[in-house]
Symmetry: C2
Subunit: 349 residues, 2 copies
């Protein structure tokens, strides 16, 4: 072994120590390092979702609200699971899981998206599959009922990865997608959140503070061992100037690579872009040999927290292990296992 | 040392071997692993630029054309160097280097940008500084004479990282920037390239094949030891549907982190996004302890080439070492050292 490799080994030992130091305080925080429960006779598939991270606290939610979120998360998990159980791809599964969340008014994506400063809804979405590392993304779409379906068409049917605004929807018109007038996406609750943001009034609504809460995402492992990740959002309440957040940015909001992991993130998007959060989890897993949970914790409780930013992510590795770190009071999240068993959580344990 | 760390060390030794295997065939290809030449009495500053990678061959260029490119590259290098020599920041230096390339008709950025399918020019740019890892980007702007200046305003003056299209230019209007009618960006040569692309005619023009050649970029190290990177482009000839390439994507086209390196890339943008090329160089340097040249070579001659894609990048580490790998016949590129000495290359050596 050449001397320079020995020097690098020493460097690596140092690095491991540093990263372990970062991850240590976060140990036990919503990380599942165990092997997933397998179906007795089925394939080893798994799917995880999030519905955004933020200042979600028990005291800000009624029992009825909590029940509604739990029901919506379970519906999404079961929709994705149906695909996986029937031998479908991870790509089809993450879309099947995200569509009902886009159709629900509870989440900041599709129908329940937040308003821009101009009182319109402009949505972003992205998807990536881990076998060929193919990807698709759309930014600022205004008429597509399910932006995640359009992101998938960009991935499968265009030579491009990312299409923006009117152009993305002009591309969409050649395909069998559902379109809606922008008013379909308008909800009273989000209009109120815009008014609050514009008047700078404080609010105790768990879903409007901070303004970016409610992005949805999914990661899945299919029976072929392929990973996929997808993310969909309405972005930030009161956003201006055609702001693009991390959700449609491959490497920031979404990443999938069968050699390392699949990630969907949610939080203060500008920081997620600057730190390339989704790709960074996969890079750490691939280059340092850290476990998925260690890498995901290092990124959220190390990198993101040190930058003074908040958010979380869901991640899955090729063995189906799941990590769901967040540095906010809560994150809507859930996992469905190969045997169909479900775990849904909202608050910090 | 716990047993699991020893297992990871073994994994890392394996990884090093794999990466070394990838980088070995590329050794000697346009990589400067040496310490930069320092000024006798000045600070250790350095700046590198590129003007795009592609099918640039001596037989396709007249002597006059080559001289024009060399002169334009030297002008850009000296403009950036003036900033560094006077104690200016790496951020100011990369902008000073890119502005003359945006103003030149030779490069696919600013004035010389390629046409979209609609015979308009839509430009993308991004910038990042390595001390605080702050960043700014614009996509699809049509009236800003120097898109890199607007990206810098997004970084410094907005709470956002990325603004798109009309919104980006609405934001710009509050600042002292130069605007031009879209026809300012139209050049006869690029219109001809569009006609060729639309008729699918083959062309021997070194600057129109492939359609994305000519993106410009810069990386710099200032006297404070801070790195910065910036990239500017007109994108792909005949692009449609609001296509966004890698140039305005932090992590794909541009990245800077004082802990690892600064990178500006150029090539078939969709692949650069999918592989998070710019961030990946920095991640390899930071997590594996590979040298800058080894990491940059692994990304271009390993990852990118294995995906079947073409392009290149320029990268600089905190010691001022430079790597400029590309897997195309040529890349417009240059370096200026602390003593003011310049090296400019176009073809593969």
């Amino acid at each position: 072994m050449p001397a320079r490799y020995i020097a690098r080994l020493a460097y690596f030992v140092l690095l491991i120590g540093l990263v372990a130091g970062i991850t240590a305080p976060a140990a036990g925080q919503d990380v599942d390092g165990a092997a997933p429960a397998a179906a007795a006779d089925g394939p080893n598939v798994r799917l995880a979702i999030h519905g955004g991270a933020g200042t979600i606290r028990p005291e800000n939610m009624t029992d009825a609200q909590e029940a509604a979120y739990r029901a919506a998360l379970e519906e999404a998990l079961r929709a994705g699971y149906e695909v996986l159980r029937n031998g479908g791809s991870a790509t089809d599964a993450v879309i099947a899981a995200i569509v009902p969340m886009e159709d629900s008014p509870l989440f900041n994506a599709g129908h329940g998206s937040v308003f821009t400063a101009e009182e319109t809804v402009e949505m972003d979405a992205s998807i990536m599959e881990g076998a060929r590392r193919n990807a698709g993304a759309v930014a600022g779409v205004m008429r597509t009922k399910n932006p995640i379906r359009l992101a998938r068409l960009v991935m499968d049917e265009s030579p491009h990865v990312m299409l923006a605004r009117e152009g993305a929807e002009a591309f969409a018109e050649a395909y069998d997608l559902e379109f809606r007038d922008n008013t379909y996406f308008h909800t009273e609750r989000r209009l109120e959140a815009l008014r609050n943001a514009q008047s700078d009034a404080s609010t105790t609504d768990a879903d409007t503070s901070p303004a970016y809460l409610g992005t949805v995402g999914a990661v899945a492992l299919d029976a072929n061992g392929t990973l996929a990740a997808a993310t969909s959002t309405g972005g930030m309440t009161n956003k201006k100037f055609g702001r693009i957040g991390d959700s449609p940015i491959i490497g920031a909001g979404t990443y999938a690579d069968n050699r390392s992991c699949a990630v969907s993130s949610t939080g203060h998007g500008e920081y997620f872009i600057r730190a390339a959060i989704a790709y960074d989890v996969c890079a750490m897993v691939r280059y340092t040999g850290l476990s998925l949970a260690e890498a995901a914790n290092a990124v959220i409780h190390g990198t993101l927290t040190e930058m003074g930013a908040t958010g979380g992510l869901i991640a899955m590795d090729p063995q189906g292990r799941v990590a769901m770190p967040f540095n906010t009071p809560g994150m809507y999240r859930g996992v469905i296992n190969a045997d169909g068993s479900v775990q849904i959580d909202i608050f910090r344990d």
